[in-house]
């Protein structure tokens, strides 16, 4: 049996969409950070619009990533999403409590980034379960 070179294997397709997702997310975070410090209002609006476009592209690539997954990868992703959800819930409660006490006032902006970080950690952790 010969391995087909075209189209790309599910593994490669999945990796590519995941890379694209991280690229868009990092881009959106950088643009939103720049927009927060931008001075002329028009420049800030342009940067915010660019950030929203990148964030939307991130969501699109995430959906592509889910579509490219086989049933085994969907199981890993389900575990990773549950892990990220539980972690985000705990961190949201901690951040909320700290904000009531006057700490971490800008931390709500960190939550989406933390969710993605936790989801990524979950993907790695739950993929290890199936390593040889």
């Amino acid at each position: 049996m010969t391995t087909q070179s075209n189209p790309p294997s599910p593994e490669i397709r999945r990796r590519n969409t995941l890379r694209l997702f991280y690229l868009f997310v990092v881009g959106a975070i950088v643009i939103f950070t720049l927009a927060a410090d931008a001075h002329p209002a028009t420049q800030q609006r342009v940067l915010m619009a660019a950030g929203i476009v990148l964030a939307a592209a991130g969501i699109w690539s995430f959906l592509r990533f889910l579509q490219a997954a086989d049933t085994h990868q969907k199981l890993i992703n389900y575990d990773a999403t549950s892990f990220a959800f539980a972690g985000s819930l705990a961190l949201t409660l901690i951040f909320g409590l700290l904000q009531r006490l006057g700490f971490l006032l800008g931390a709500s902006l960190l939550l989406p980034a933390l969710m993605i970080a936790l989801w990524s950690i979950g993907l790695i952790l739950f993929s290890w379960r199936y390593q040889e």
Binding site: M1, Q4, S9, P10, E11, D70, T71, H72, Q73, Q131
Partner: protein, 72 residues
């Protein structure tokens, strides 16, 4: 659930990557099935069985039963 996947693959001299490519999943998925860490859904189980030209019972075995081909 037990599987004869590794044996059938060896008979055909296919690598895990070959089989994965034939049924449209990752090599990691095939490895997880072979090592018993993951049980495939019906759709994938049928695809794998048909790739080998076998019935599903000849490839996968529910824990308290016997593989169909071994019973004959």
């Amino acid at each position: 659930m037990k599987t004869r996947l590794r044996v059938l693959r060896a008979e055909k001299e296919w690598s895990q990557a070959d089989l994965a490519s034939a049924v449209g999943v990752t090599r990691q998925c095939i490895n997880a099935i072979e090592t018993g860490k993951y049980e495939p859904g019906l759709d994938l189980a049928f695809k794998i069985a048909r790739t080998f030209g076998k019935n599903i019972e000849e490839v996968f075995l529910y824990e308290d039963g016997q593989i169909a081909s071994e019973r004959r």
